[in-house]
């Protein structure tokens, strides 16, 4: 499978779908099929990405730097796989849950998929920005889906706050270019090793803040509870499950790969930010009555864990960040989709995803938290290990309080076979990874090993 396959497929299909009325069943299925096909195409890239020479090309065969380089190392591939899978699940859910109510929904979801794939594949800072904007704009357009007053309110908050984040990111990319004279990530790496030692700190700071907005960690998260609560459940799943991946991926890519020396200097800061997000999210989730708000704060905790893992640094810490992001992405999607309905199926899926979020085995979330704990103990950061334990306990309490309030009391409006299948598949993936963690562990380890510039 050539590298352009998984990128081109959703892109072209999104254009084609834009012409069609997404409320028709076959259009929705076409969208589903194109996401599924691009998932398969990405999976076909796995052997190449793991071969030690990740597939890459430069657009138009121009010299590197002049043309745009695209590259799929293991980190890109695992992020693409998980994000596309999440999008696929969400689209299927929305379609079978009662039909899509907006003409452009499938097309926008597939655009979001194309944007995310592009973000994960590109090896050029400005191209990253463009794909990032593609994903963001599709998300902006999706945010108001449902078009009730609360959805519009959520969309407005989301757009305005995230526009600030995008501006910060654009500024950072431009500063990178002005300072290093190139946009190609590998060349920036080379410049960083040879050039002035502190010159990349300013763009690095801006990148941290920009991705902080996307990922939603303290103190950049204030938009998240409102948006996750007031947007439709499917949209919330898309935003929390797929779009937030940009944040963690961007931090990993720019932090660990492009500017490792800046990451090294930022580590104390990241640990502080991570710790405060963990505490803030866990404590606030406790008293919330609205399940979606509980989930929003739980995702802030999750973001904090990722940041703390980055702050730990080293291969183990970064790999833990990857595992946390991947498991968290599936968790959040399953939670947001399952909390919308009642009935046995939703109950089961919710509890599995909640256990995963709290880090209770045998789920994927357990392994990711275990990794963080391991990295923290290895580095001798006992306080962080304690914090992870505390966060686990508090999220267990908060999520299951919400569970008992919502799931056990509400009758009716149960998940039917189709929607049940989606949440079942998501929770099955979580449990299967929990029982056989090797894929997750290898994904995390090799994704970081593929970055190659770390000590």
């Amino acid at each position: 499978m050539p590298l352009w396959g998984p990128l081109l497929l959703p892109w072209v299909m999104a254009c084609v779908l834009a012409f069609m009325d997404g409320r028709r069943a076959w259009v929705a299925w076409l969208g589903i099929a194109s996401l599924a096909a691009s998932l398969v195409c990405t999976a076909l890239l796995l052997p190449q990405a793991w071969s030690g020479h990740p597939p890459e090309f430069v657009t138009g065969d121009w010299p590197v730097g002049v043309g745009i380089r695209l590259r799929a190392d293991p980190l890109s591939i695992v992020y693409t796989l998980v994000s596309t899978a999440v999008l696929l699940g969400t689209l299927v859910y929305e379609h079978v849950a009662g039909g899509i109510t907006s003409r452009s929904f499938p097309s926008l979801v597939v655009f979001l998929g194309a944007g995310l794939t592009g973000v994960f594949f590109t090896s050029d800072a400005f191209n990253f920005y463009v794909f990032f904007e593609l994903a963001m704009t599709a998300a902006f357009a999706l945010a108001s889906y449902g078009e009730k007053a609360r959805n519009l309110r959520a969309a407005f908050t989301f757009v305005v706050v995230n526009l600030m984040g995008s501006t910060l990111f654009l500024t950072a990319v431009v500063m990178l270019y002005l300072t290093t004279g190139t946009l190609d990530m590998q060349s920036i790496v080379a410049w960083g090793q040879a050039g002035a030692p502190y010159a990349l700190d300013v763009p690095g700071t801006l990148l941290l803040c920009a991705f902080g907005v996307k990922l939603g960690f303290f103190p950049f998260h204030f938009w998240a509870p409102a948006v996750y609560r007031d947007a439709g459940p499917t949209v919330a799943a898309l935003l929390a499950g797929a779009l937030a991946n940009i944040g963690s991926y961007g931090l990993l890519r720019f932090g660990a790969d492009v500017m490792p020396q800046v990451l090294e200097r930022a580590r104390p800061l990241l640990e502080i930010l991570g710790a405060s997000s963990i505490l803030y999210g866990s404590v606030l989730a406790l008293s919330r009555r609205d399940t979606r708000e509980v989930l929003a704060y739980a995702s802030i905790t999750q973001a904090g864990l990722i940041i703390a893992a980055l702050g730990l640094g080293g291969r183990e810490g970064l790999a833990a960040a990857v595992a946390l992001a991947l498991a968290g992405s599936v968790d959040k999607t399953a939670l947001f989709l399952a909390q919308d309905r009642g009935g046995e199926r939703a109950r089961r899926a919710y509890s599995v995803a909640a256990f995963s979020t709290a880090g209770v085995p045998p789920t994927a979330g357990f392994w990711s938290k275990a990794w963080l704990l391991r990295a923290a103990l290895e580095r001798g950061h006992t306080w962080l290990a304690g914090l992870v334990v505390l966060a686990s306990i508090l999220s267990l309490l908060a999520l299951f309080r919400a569970y008992q309030r919502e799931q056990w009391l509400r009758e009716g409006a149960a998940l039917h076979r189709g929607t049940g299948a989606v949440v079942f598949a998501l929770s099955l993936a979580l449990v299967a990874t929990g029982l056989w963690p090797e894929p997750l562990l290898r994904a995390g380890r090799d994704a970081i090993a593929g970055l190659g510039v770390l000590p």
Binding site: F126, F140, A141, K148, R150, F156, V160, M164, V174
Partner: protein, 121 residues
């Protein structure tokens, strides 16, 4: 020139932020436009120092960095598209809430939050 350009960037940004922090939807939209403008200015400010010539010059002359120009163009277009979306969103939001003020949005949000709190056990 660096100083002047970055002063203007800062000024535009500050004005933009001041507008976004206004209590009214239209001004919020205006603010984002100003902010976009400031970042485009920053992009091209990188080439002020070179005092280059326009395109189509014989080899050897300094040229305004074409990559910066194309970055600026891309940023302008993306900013334009997103702002158009934002404008429609402003329209829909004010129609749904019957007000142009952001505090009304907050009130509606708070009302929902408190309603959920009340109905819970």
């Amino acid at each position: 020139m660096n100083l002047i350009a970055s002063l203007v960037v800062g000024l535009l940004f500050a004005c933009g932020v001041r507008m976004v922090l206004e209590r009214e939807l239209v001004r919020v939209a205006c603010g984002t436009v100003l902010i976009t403008n400031s970042s485009v200015l920053l992009i091209l400010a990188g080439s002020f120092a070179e005092r280059g010539e326009a395109v189509n010059v014989p080899q050897g002359y300094p040229v305004t960095d074409p990559v910066l120009q194309s970055l600026a163009l891309t940023a302008i277009v993306i900013g334009f598209a997103v702002s158009a979306l934002l404008l429609t969103l402003v329209h829909r939001t004010q129609r749904a809430h019957g007000s142009l003020r952001t505090d009304r949005l907050v009130e509606a949000e708070m009302k929902r939050v408190h309603d959920t709190e009340k109905e819970g056990p």
